[in-house]
């Protein structure tokens, strides 16, 4: 299936979803006033990918900022990944946070406690 790719903007993250490699990346800032529109194609892409996922899907989430409107949409993305993980293929979510950004680490832990997919918390040291 075709890859999904967006450049980042001041309010939306860069997105690289590669179905052939099973690598999914979301990076940057996610602070649009209404995040539904932005995340809709991501959720739809995952819906399609879930019919023929790779044996291992690696998810890299590296957000500098995200707002509460995005937080629900990110949960929707993770729920799609949870459904893939419930099938026969494996999913790992790598949650990146900058050194001393406890809020971002805690946000990752919040998701980890809701979503049944293995999370790896990765501290970025400058």
């Amino acid at each position: 299936m075709e890859a999904l790719s967006f450049e980042g903007t001041a309010k939306t993250p860069s997105v690289k979803f590669n179905g052939q490699e099973g690598i999914i990346e979301i990076k940057g800032r996610s602070i649009p006033e209404n995040s539904i529109e932005f995340y809709k194609p991501l959720v739809e892409w995952l819906e399609e990918y879930s019919s023929t996922p790779m044996d291992l899907t690696q998810v890299n989430v590296q957000l500098e900022y995200f707002n509460t409107s995005s937080s629900k949409c990110i949960l929707d993305v993770f729920k799609k990944l949870e459904a893939i993980h419930k099938g026969k293929s494996e999913v790992i979510i790598n949650w990146y946070y900058e050194e001393d950004d406890e809020d971002m680490l805690e946000a990752g832990e919040d998701y980890e406690s809701i979503i049944r997919v293995p999370f790896k918390m990765i501290e970025i040291v400058e």
Partner: protein, 185 residues
């Protein structure tokens, strides 16, 4: 005498003003404010920890305004525009203060007051549980609001929110919300 917005705005002071605005709260305005405040925090050489907290709380404060602001009746358009709000970011002693203000229909005051009082009374762990519950169980509104803004602000600041409701006329009150971010936490 009824509440005077301009007088109120000019009296919002104390400390060093980082950014002040009154007028229409649009998506573009929010982008501009964020850019300016980010540049100012660079000038102050704030630690990345403070910078992030202020930025996050500012995003939620502005987007709360954006999502919840009352569309004012025609009689008030001329003076205030359609979606009037105020914002003041200041640096006082060893904390940042973010003040926002907007008109609110008097019928909505009780619900809002109860919500803030409840959030203020909650412990860190209770706030975390409340955040996760809303995140997992409540749908986004069509405008993209999630009902999480105030809970998120309380979690990130660790401080109580302060508020006032000033009577403007029989229908409208002016709601002011102050949130504080401490330098050392």
């Amino acid at each position: 005498m009824s509440f005077d917005v301009n007088e109120y705005y000019s009296n919002l002071n104390g400390g060093e003003v980082v950014m002040a605005f009154k007028g229409d709260i649009s998506s573009e305005l929010i982008s501009n404010v964020l850019e300016v405040v980010e540049a100012r925090m660079d000038e102050y050489s704030e630690s990345s920890k403070i910078r992030k907290k202020v930025y996050n709380v500012l995003v939620e404060s502005l987007q709360n305004l954006y999502h919840h602001i009352e569309e004012l009746p025609e009689g008030m358009h001329e003076e205030y525009g359609l979606k009037f709000g105020i914002l003041l970011v200041s640096r006082i002693d060893n904390r940042y203060k973010i003040s926002t203000g907007n008109f609110i229909n008097h019928g909505k005051i009780d619900v809002l007051r109860n919500k803030i009082d409840k959030i203020n009374s909650m412990s860190r762990d209770e706030l975390k549980d409340m955040y996760k519950f809303i995140l997992n169980h409540q749908r986004l509104s069509d405008k993209g609001g999630g009902g999480l803004g105030l809970v998120d602000i309380a979690r990130k600041t660790g401080n109580n929110m302060e508020y006032t409701f000033e009577k403007y006329d029989d229908t409208y009150y002016f709601f002011n919300l102050d949130v504080y971010i401490d330098f050392i936490k």
